[in-house]
């Protein structure tokens, strides 16, 4: 059941139902590890001043 419980965002099919932002972590390593542990497939990144 889990494998087929996907959702649709436009033409994208997603499995993970958690979207994790990258702000406020202690380090880039922690950001990476947290994103991996969350199982997320998608991450919002603030743009503008930061890029």
């Amino acid at each position: 059941m889990t494998a087929s419980d996907t959702w649709q965002l436009g033409d994208r099919t997603l499995t993970s139902r958690i979207i994790v932002g990258t702000g406020k972590y202690a380090s880039n390593d922690e950001t990476r590890d947290a994103l991996a542990a969350s199982g997320t497939e998608m991450s919002p990144s603030r743009c503008g001043a930061s890029i």
């Binding site: 958690i18 994790v20 932002g21």
Partner: protein
């Protein structure tokens, strides 16, 4: 910040966090598009600096213009059904109502509103902001949300990586509970052991 993330592993969502007008948000996303980022974007137009509550009017205005320009818009908004309907009508791919103020960790302040939005809007509902711990995530998913967007709930935990795993499990558990359909609430007890056929 972008260098911290493997762009081949994650869909990166350009985000207009910190923008206070529709024009500013649209300019920011034009810049992101120029830089080759995806047309799937998170739209956030803030209306008040202390609460970071969204300016829903400006958000709807920006969404209408961005959809016309070909962007695939995921808008952050209040947990307000009418705003969510307008955003869906504008052609947004999903709506992202807040559960509580950004970074507050206060959890699902108004589950009734979130449920009304889920029941009455045809696009996916993604709770964005306010989830502070795993139980908040489970509650949102049990209400029938499609997904949850979070940042501070993980990043500001004592052990962020462990909390990230807890959130994954809670989202999964809440989703399964929603699909399973919870038992009805009762005011009085209902014995779980059989009461018939016992030795007199």
């Amino acid at each position: 910040m972008l260098s911290a993330i493997d762009r081949s592993k994650y869909i990166l969502l350009p985000n207009t966090a910190g923008c206070y007008t529709a024009d500013e948000a649209i300019r920011t996303l034009h810049l992101a598009r120029e830089l080759g980022m995806d047309e799937l974007v998170k739209l956030e137009v803030i209306g008040d600096p202390k609460t970071l509550f969204p300016d829903n009017t400006a958000t709807v205005e920006a969404a209408i213009r961005l959809v016309k320009e070909g962007f695939k818009v995921l808008p952050y908004c209040s947990d307000d059904l009418v705003t969510c309907k307008r955003l869906a009508d504008a052609g947004c791919l999903a709506v992202m109502p807040l559960a509580a103020p950004i970074g507050s960790g206060l959890g699902i302040r108004n589950p009734h509103n979130i449920r009304l939005i889920i029941e009455n809007v045809s696009v996916p509902v993604i709770v964005d902001a306010g989830v502070g711990t795993a139980s908040d995530a489970a509650i949102a998913m049990e209400l029938g949300c499609t997904a949850i967007l979070m940042n501070t709930g993980i990043a500001a935990a004592q052990k962020p990586v462990l909390m990230a795993e807890a959130m994954r499990l809670a989202v999964d558990g809440g989703r399964k509970a929603f699909l399973a359909g919870r038992m009805p609430r009762r005011d009085y007890a209902n014995a779980s052991s059989p009461t018939a056929g016992l030795i007199e």
